[in-house]
């Protein structure tokens, strides 16, 4: 049983020691990694997924339940308790979606008879996040960027069903990300989101701040920020509605913005 995962700091670019030398994540934590482009966010989650042991360029080390993880996690990818959804959203495999997911389900799940059910659930999950549904007989390489990302998220949650899930910039795939967050939070796992999105950041218990390859700070979402989270959510929903109108070939009108004018933090606080 995985209860905690620990990041032991290494060094950033130019071999500078990281400001934060230890971070512990507990089962059920939702954590964000934030920082400017190129600051090392993806590198950090790669370290986690690989169970870095001082052998990656960052020299970081990852502990599970306070100890060096058993080597089987690294030796057999299907026993890896971490699922990583990368920023690259292209599949290179030309297998049909059904075959690919079926193979993956049989690797991950000891009881092979459940594979078909898992594939069906995975497709149903993915199709709640995409505009156009994934066709099970199409080839993986034919999926759009958003469909690919949606399928990978569903695969991580349902087929891998790992206790730790790492997601690199879910917001950039054109999928229904609020729905993705809602669906994912039904599972009790450690979630780590690399994100530039204030809504996702404020939904997290804390956020890890990166700069020049270093972990520079850990910021806990406090009570004040939690109230802003509501405002940010409403603003974000309003923007999503605008996005959808554009997507579905509609014109924007002045009335689309009346709602937005309501959202200043002061007004929102009074409103609550």
């Amino acid at each position: 049983m995985i209860k905690t995962i620990t990041i032991l700091g290494g060094e950033g670019k130019a071999d500078k020691a990281e400001e934060v030398q230890r971070i512990d994540l507990n089962m059920g934590d939702v954590v964000s990694i934030v920082g400017p482009t190129g600051s090392g966010k993806t590198t950090l989650i790669n370290d986690i997924e690989l169970f870095a042991d001082g052998d990656t360029p960052t020299k970081r080390r990852i502990l599970i339940n306070g100890e060096r993880p058993p080597s089987v996690y690294r030796d057999d990818p299907s026993r890896n308790p971490i699922a990583l959804i990368t920023q690259h959203t292209n599949f290179l495999s030309d297998l049909p979606v059904r075959v690919f997911l079926g193979t993956h389900a049989r690797i991950r799940c000891a009881d092979g008879s459940r594979a078909d059910a898992l594939v069906a659930q995975t497709l149903a999950f993915a199709n709640q996040l995409t505009g156009e549904p994934v066709i099970p007989d199409s080839r993986m390489t034919e999926l759009s960027g958003g469909q690919t990302r949606a399928l990978l998220i569903a695969d991580a949650a349902i087929i891998c069903n790992t206790p730790i899930v790492l997601l690199d910039e879910v917001e950039n795939a054109g999928i229904h990300r609020t729905r993705a967050l809602e669906l994912l939070r039904q599972y009790r796992k450690i979630f780590i989101f690399v994100t530039h999105d204030p809504r996702i950041a404020l939904l997290s218990d804390f956020r890890i701040v990166m700069r020049s390859g270093c972990i520079t700070r850990v910021i806990h979402t406090d009570a004040a920020e939690r109230t802003f989270a509501l405002t940010v959510g409403c603003l974000d929903d309003a923007l999503s509605r605008l996005r959808d109108k554009i997507r579905f070939g509609k014109h924007l009108e002045k009335t689309d913005f009346t709602e937005l004018e309501r959202f200043t933090p002061e007004r929102e606080a009074a409103f609550l």
């Binding site: 690989l50 299907s78 990583l84 290179l92 297998l95 193979t103």
Partner: protein
């Protein structure tokens, strides 16, 4: 002398993997020699000599299948490496012929494959994979984790007895177990034998007869609607 033979299709990452392995071996005081076998172009000998200051050589197989060429030159190469003071000879081959494999009994056979190569590759590479001791999957940084797992399953299905190791050969991540395997390899025996059986022997095309159609050829031949059969005396 330990013998390490690394095969894999062009640009799969053989050199990248071997450089990381060599760096770790040299850093722990081992004496390496490096031989590259390729058909018509290679610069790995210069790369390894420059980077690690170890004795290196290359041979071009030209008209010969590079794996057959390796059978012919390996004896000389071990002698050369011994005289040059090495205790581990690392051979990077070309791996073009998918019917034979260059590994030798008593040596370590490393097969390098890229994760980006499509799910059917493990089914296509034949003895180059199935006769290896370990399949090293490179370029894992370019594919999703799910694809990595399915690719591994495909390898294990095609070659159940071969170990599999995923690496990122750009940064050298996942290399340590390969180094351990090299160190566990015993010294190569006096009498070296090619692992497995070579494919059906020389045909008349190999020796230069260019006419199209099996009717013009002798020895083991085949027709479109037939299995291999023998024609001639």
């Amino acid at each position: 002398m330990k013998l390490v033979i690394c095969a894999g299709s062009a640009t799969t990452g053989k050199t990248s993997v071997l450089r990381h392995v060599a760096r770790k071996l040299v850093a722990t005081g081992h004496h390496l020699a490096f031989l590259k076998i390729d058909v018509q172009y290679a610069d790995e000998d210069e790369v390894f000599a420059r980077e690690f200051a170890i004795p290196t050589r290359k041979v071009y197989s030209g008209e010969l299948c590079p794996d057959h060429c390796s059978v012919l030159v390996l004896g000389d190469a071990l002698k050369w490496a011994g005289e040059a003071g090495a205790d581990i000879l690392v051979v990077e081959t070309a791996g073009l012929c998918l019917r034979c494999a260059p590994y030798v009994d008593g040596g370590l056979g490393l097969m390098v494959m890229e994760a980006t190569s499509g799910m059917n590759l493990p089914r296509k590479v034949g003895p180059m994979l199935s006769l290896a001791d370990i399949a090293v999957v490179t370029k894992i940084d370019l594919v999703s984790q799910a694809e990595r797992e399915v690719f591994r399953a495909r390898i294990m299905e095609a070659a159940p007895s071969v170990r599999v190791r995923e690496v990122n050969a750009l940064y050298g991540i996942g290399i340590d177990p390969l180094v351990d395997l090299v160190l566990q390899t015993p010294d190569a025996p006096e009498r070296l034998l090619l692992r497995g059986n070579p494919p059906v022997g020389t045909c008349t095309i190999c020796v230069g007869k260019k006419e199209i159609g099996w009717q013009s050829h002798f020895g083991v031949v085949r027709a479109l609607d037939n299995q291999n059969f023998y024609r001639g005396e």
